[in-house]
């Protein structure tokens, strides 16, 4: 079956770019890495059966390349926890900045846990699918998810960020 590479790029560019962006939190590096992965895909086009296979191949490739990139460059998040200003009031802040704060907090998670969280909530993958993608047991994926949620909740509460503020600004689009 002939695979149209231009169509694969068009359909998957957002997924590949976003996974790298959410994981690395650096737009330029994410774009560069995503392009590299597509080029790698292009070279292996003959081994891919169909568009769905290409999609799963791309997802796996960008996950592993992002983790490698992080280890190689030893990235620190662009915005550290200490740089985040405290909220002005205990109540919610209906502000898109809040979503960025949450993304920053996700960016503070350890690499494996961060990738698990991004795959779960960006790609809506099930723990079993994430386990297969990252070559780890399902129990480990569930443990990463459970601990990450607890950690995120604790950090959000510590900073006075409440569900009201974040839920209110949902649906306004994201960067």
């Amino acid at each position: 079956m002939e695979i149209d590479f231009a169509e694969i790029v068009a359909k998957n560019q957002s997924m590949v770019f976003s996974l790298a962006l959410r994981f690395l939190r650096n737009r330029e590096v994410a774009e560069e890495l995503a392009q590299d992965v597509f080029l790698q895909c292009y070279r292996q086009l003959g081994q891919l059966e169909d568009a769905a296979h290409a999609c799963s191949w791309l997802r796996r490739a960008i996950c592993h390349r992002s983790i490698d990139e992080l280890r190689k460059r030893r990235y620190r998040p662009a915005i550290g926890l200490d740089d985040i200003p405290e909220p002005a009031a205990a109540g919610g802040m209906p502000d898109l900045m809040m979503q960025d704060r949450l993304r920053s907090l996700v960016g503070e998670l350890p690499e494996k846990a961060r990738m698990v969280v991004v795959l779960r909530y960006q790609e809506d993958l099930l723990p079993g699918e994430i386990a297969e993608l990252l070559d780890m047991p399902v129990s480990t994926v569930k443990s990463h998810l459970h601990r990450s949620l607890a950690l995120l909740r604790g950090r959000l509460e510590k900073r006075g960020v409440t569900p009201v503020g974040l839920l209110r600004c949902e649906g306004r689009g994201s960067v």
Binding site: L21, F38, L39, Q99, E170
Partner: protein
């Protein structure tokens, strides 16, 4: 108000982590790169691990003997200086002993 359930947090995470659009020129850039001839990047062989390893080995071959020779030269110079210092010390000791012997002889004659 606190985070009562994981569902609340999960809902917020889904909203915050939803996909971002790739840059507008992303796809054209990728497709343009696929049209470049294979190995079109500038001197890709320079980045190959074998080339890097060979360069490192050549540098090691050039640098290590120079370092070893310099170390040997310094050690030899130190040894020579130590030898000269020792000879000087022995000469001083010999002179002092000679002087002491002369004094002893002179005093012995006076007593006799």
């Amino acid at each position: 108000m606190n985070w009562n359930t994981d569902e609340e947090l999960e809902q917020v995470l889904r909203g915050s982590l939803r996909r971002s659009a790739a840059p507008p020129d992303f796809a054209p850039k990728v497709l343009a790169k696929t049209r470049q001839p294979a190995g079109g990047s500038r001197m890709p062989w320079l980045r190959r691990p074998f080339t890097l390893a060979l360069a490192a080995a050549l540098m090691a071959v050039a640098i290590i003997p120079a370092v070893v020779l310099d170390h040997q030269r310094r050690e030899a110079a130190r040894g020579l200086k130590a030898k000269q210092d020792l000879l000087t010390a022995l000469a001083i000791t010999r002179d002092q002993l000679q002087h002491a012997r002369n004094e002893v002889r002179k005093n012995t004659r006076i007593i006799q």
